[in-house]
Symmetry: C2
Subunit: 350 residues, 2 copies
């Protein structure tokens, strides 16, 4: 049974949301170790399958992540990461400072062989569209990315999309300012050429900002600066448009009546656009699993962050990522031999 | 009276939209010279104040802009740019290929003293918010930007916001991944430091993607790669959310009735989010005025592109930009002397 180390501090909606989220995740059969203020989280001890581990220090959004993680070994997020590194838990989840959670994970869990920089990935749910979400990465682990990092993000995203989101052959795209291979910054033009020749990826070319929610790719790769801005732009625009619709629905008697009738249908849309639905972002490229929930997560968001962490462990995403990265380093000759061997195995095991 | 050179080719919605747009702009007292296919645009000759100038070549979105502009001197967009350079028109407007329009303008109209790279700027209208729009630049003139370019964009945007959008002291912000000065790519962190010390700008610090439509700044500066992706992300997200609302409004009898009642109120929102409303993007940093309308512009979009071009001329935006750039190069001592002199002038002219 999978155990998730849950950071019990730093969530904007307080210990109540942590306890309720832990209870919901535990009800699904996930074991939890919750790190935080013993007094505030005492209700955790009443949850079947959950354990409370005291953590006397906290790291907030106001702290500089690297300095704080280094100087506060008893901070809840640092203890949660160490719990995974030392094998008591198999994954960590936090709804506290994103920077602190990433830094704690990066320090405690080692990077996969050949990965220079881990990437933060989010699932974009397309309103009204069925099927698996589009994975966007990096959304903020690194402010600068080299060509080689973008290539690695494609492998990290492909492995996660296959393993955890259940996409059979994830279509990979590169975020740029036009579809043509020569469009974009120098790094992006270079990355396009490298992706087009890459082994083990289904690279479909560039996509633009308008395509992010169009479901045209399963994995969209970008640098952490652009990805973070784009993610927040989507959230901000959706909120602004939804508010304008609500305002329109309140203006005038006829519109107000219409708004009332619409409310139930819009509720489903709101739930789909809610960051709580996906459980947050996941840090890819490490030898362990770390999920960073939205700071404003409610109980459902906390529970979904824990569920995402547990599912990532259960689907062996890290091992599958390692395999894909190994494949990517194989030469064409090695890949041909491997595929011939697989063919022979298939014939032997009908 | 201001004359605008209008590119009569390349608009997705064809010559009909060009003619109708020209007619609407001419009705406002703007003189037009329309460059394009004489047969298709013959109705232009019936518009009071509009002149048809035959242009036998066309540049489409499929063409590589620089090569096409160089090799097709009789292309409508090239002739329109030359018309401005040679003083027959005071501004150009095009709803054809953005790349071709930018390239033709860049080749025909010289850059302002000290401007290394012009920037493409758009007005972001905030749904439901009154007051002037937020100017976002660069949205795609350059794929790579140096620190110094970002600083110049701030001056270009400030001058335009003051002159054309009527903002008294435009608040300038830098797009990044967090509010702290040290957040972002190396260029952005550097640009923040330069902007904070810059003369003649009201720099308010960094903004994030979620702030783009929040009305927290009058001018938002970014590199052309990020700006282009962000602009298309806003358009794509707004469209997706609006479609999801429409779909919700159609599902179920009660919701359908609600949707019907809401329709009129939503119409106003749709018009506000429509790129036709602002007339498109404007290329800043040149010694002439060039407006690039949305490719899908209808008659109102074409007319608004022409109106934006004429207003930019009438408000002497280029001269005012030159002045601001000169001020930015002044030392603190020079600025103090200038301000003392202005004070003495004010006392003399009560």
């Amino acid at each position: 049974m999978t155990t998730v180390a849950l950071d019990g501090r730093g969530a904007e909606r307080g210990p109540g949301a942590i306890v309720a989220g832990a209870r919901a995740a535990a009800a699904d059969g996930i074991r939890l170790r919750v790190f935080g203020d013993s007094a505030a989280l005492t209700a955790v001890t009443e949850i079947d399958g959950a354990e409370l581990v005291p953590a006397v220090e906290e790291i907030s959004n106001a702290d500089e992540p690297v300095a704080a993680v280094r100087s506060r070994p008893e901070a809840s997020v640092v203890l949660a990461a160490r719990d995974v590194a030392e094998g008591r838990s198999q994954a960590m989840a936090s709804a506290g400072s994103t920077g602190a959670a990433m830094t704690a994970a990066l320090f405690a869990l080692r990077r996969l062989h050949g990965v220079r920089r881990p990437a933060l990935a989010v699932q974009l749910l397309v309103p009204g569209r069925l099927g698996p979400p589009t994975l966007l990465l990096d959304v903020g682990a690194n402010a600068d990315a080299r060509t080689n990092d973008l290539l690695q993000f494609a492998y990290l995203g492909t492995a996660f999309s296959e393993a955890v989101l259940g996409v059979a052959h994830p279509r990979v795209a590169l975020l740029s300012v036009g579809e043509e291979p020569n469009k974009g910054s120098a790094e992006v033009v270079d990355a396009h050429a490298r992706l087009a020749r890459a082994q083990g990826l289904d690279f479909r070319g560039n996509v633009e900002g308008k395509d992010l929610l169009a479901g045209v790719a399963d994995v969209i790769v970008t640098d952490g600066f652009t990805g973070n801005i784009v993610l927040k732009t989507i959230e901000g625009t959706a909120k602004t448009v939804a508010e304008a619709v609500r305002a329109a629905a309140r203006s005038g008697v006829r519109a107000a009546a219409g708004g009332l009738l619409l409310r139930r249908s819009l509720g489903a849309l709101r739930r789909q656009m809610d960051p709580d639905t996906t459980g947050g972002a996941i840090l890819l490229g490490l030898r362990g699993v770390a999920v960073v929930g939205h700071g404003s997560s409610g109980p459902e968001g906390i529970a979904n962050a824990v569920r995402l962490a547990a599912r990532t462990v259960d689907e062996r995403a890290v091992e599958r990522t390692t395999k894909l990265l190994e494949r990517s380093r194989m030469t064409r000759g090695e890949l041909r031999r491997e595929s011939l061997q697989a063919g022979m195995r298939d014939r032997k095991e009908p």
